[in-house]
Amino acid sequence: MEYLIHLAILFSIYAILGISLNLVVGYTGLLSITHAAFYGIGAYATAILLTQSGVGFLLSVILGIILAVLASFLIGAVLSKFDGDYYALGSFGFSVIVFSVFLNWQSLTRGPLGILGISKPELFGIDFSSNFAFLILSLLFLIAIYFVSKFIVNSSFGRVLKAIREDEKAIQVFGYNTLYFKLAVFVMSAAMAAVAGSLFASYITFIDTSTFTLMESIFILTIIILGGLANLHGSILGALFLILLPEILRFVGFPTDIAVQMRQVVYGLILILLMLYRPQGLIGEYKL
């Protein structure tokens, strides 16, 4: 039972990451491979604040969001000038740069050694240190982010995003400055990823750089492509599927280090097979 709760918590964290990335990749058609960077910024903000100052969890989440907004604003300002594969490549580059910062700014992040002993959250006097309580908390965040995202994609703003995806030139002719829209959705998506990062840091109580690599960005991308682009339910479905998949692999009984690599093989194959046979994913509404 305890283990199921653990999986459910991981699921809600990855569902948040999937939903937020889907805003950029699915709805706006911009292939971003740098989501783990903002996930990491949120995680480090919470980890550092909770271990080194008396600041509470909620404040650390807010600070993580602010930092992710600042970082994504700078990164997005460059990226928004591009589209298609150049966008993908540029975001690839930023993912490496942010990772270098995590790894090398050792006085702050302790690099590969990681940060230990991050405390479990306490909000409004309620203690969330038991796993069940934490699950409730992370599900609440997931629900909040789901509804915010739903509001975004159904608003007139969301319709402009889809128009950018279908034909950026055409919507520019109507007088929309698409650069602002691309930047805005990128920043919103990064802010949500930072929330997922804060939850992760506070749940696992230990973080190091190995969580926020390029591979993590690829994993989140696999979630949303598998579930389906431009469909918020798809991202939830994708996260559920890919969190449970390693558990099925576990029954095969590989040694741990091989099991980790086996998972990567499976993720890679999923991406290839989807591209070959079902590029819209399980319930997607948009094909790359």
Partner: protein, 288 residues
């Protein structure tokens, strides 16, 4: 030995390695117009083949090197036939091809790690004992000299091949317009298959040379790929001379950059260069 001559030498050696990766990447991009992110893994396949055949099985070194290059070439060719060709037939977008290659990269890299563990390993038994030469006040090892000579040979050979053979002209025609090439009777699928083979063989060689110079690990392909991608874009994508130019520029910027900053920031410096180019000159030095 002075520091400046040594830095210049190091830059040239780095440039030679990067250009080997970049020309294959650029050649493939020219013919297919998508960023083949699986290209870097070919380098790891080359390196690990030599490790297995020469060091584990104790076969003749030259035989092992030939097998390594051939194997890299065949796997590159196989990826084209199994994954990319069916996608091209269906007129899939570049993004679909890019995501498929991302999947191929993830899966192949993990397979290498399963077969050979993810530890760092060396190919040559006695790195410290190799001959060292002094040129213009800097030192260069025998391996590095071989890197330089083979890079120059490959580049010259490829330049002649592209310029003076029918095959080279066919590649140029496909790069300009695949549809028209088909109409005038060029078997584009066959030619593109060969392009994948040649590009992957060269990447395999790059991996083998890096293996002799420093060592191998499964993720080596990713870092080489990133450098190759940056070199190609900085130089002018799709143009192999541009790729070479970009590779040497990158080698110099990186090596002089870490002289002033510090070694850990090498990747960030490389991507910094890419982003500067993406902002100010997205078509690269050789603008076509």
């Amino acid at each position: 030995m002075g520091i400046i001559p040594q830095l210049i030498l190091n830059s040239i050696i780095a440039g030679a390695i990067y250009s080997l990766v970049a020309i294959g990447f650029s050649l493939i991009y020219g013919a297919t117009k998508f960023f083949n992110l699986a290209h870097g893994v070919m380098a790891a396949i080359g390196g690990y083949s030599v490790f297995y055949f020469a060091k584990t099985l104790g076969w003749d070194l030259w035989l092992a090197v030939s097998i390594g290059m051939l194997l890299a070439g065949l796997i590159g060719y196989g990826l084209d036939k199994i994954i990319y060709k069916p996608l091209r037939k269906r007129k899939a977008s570049n993004m679909v091809l890019l995501v498929a290659s991302l999947g191929a990269f993830t899966a192949l890299q993990a397979i290498i790690a399963i077969l050979f563990t993810s530890q760092f390993q060396t190919i040559s038994g006695n790195i410290g004992a190799q001959n060292i030469y002094e040129i213009f006040g800097g030192v260069i090892t025998q391996t590095q000299l071989i890197i330089l000579i083979s890079a120059i040979t490959i580049m010259a050979g490829l330049a002649l091949l592209l310029k003076y053979t029918m095959f080279g002209k066919a590649i140029k025609a496909i790069s300009d317009d695949e549809e028209v090439s088909k109409i005038v009777g060029i078997n584009t699928d066959k030619i593109i298959g060969y392009v994948f083979f040649i590009g992957s063989v060269i990447a395999g060689l790059a991996g083998i040379l890096v293996g002799f110079d420093t060592g191998i690990k499964p993720t080596m392909g990713l870092s080489l790929l990133l450098k190759g991608v940056i070199a190609s874009i900085v130089g002018g994508i799709g143009n192999i001379y541009g790729g070479v130019l970009g590779a040497f520029l990158l080698g110099f910027v990186e090596n002089f950059g870490i002289w002033k900053i510090s070694g850990e920031w090498k990747d960030a410096i490389a991507f910094g260069l890419l982003i500067v180019f993406l902002i100010f000159r997205p078509r690269g030095i050789i603008n076509n």
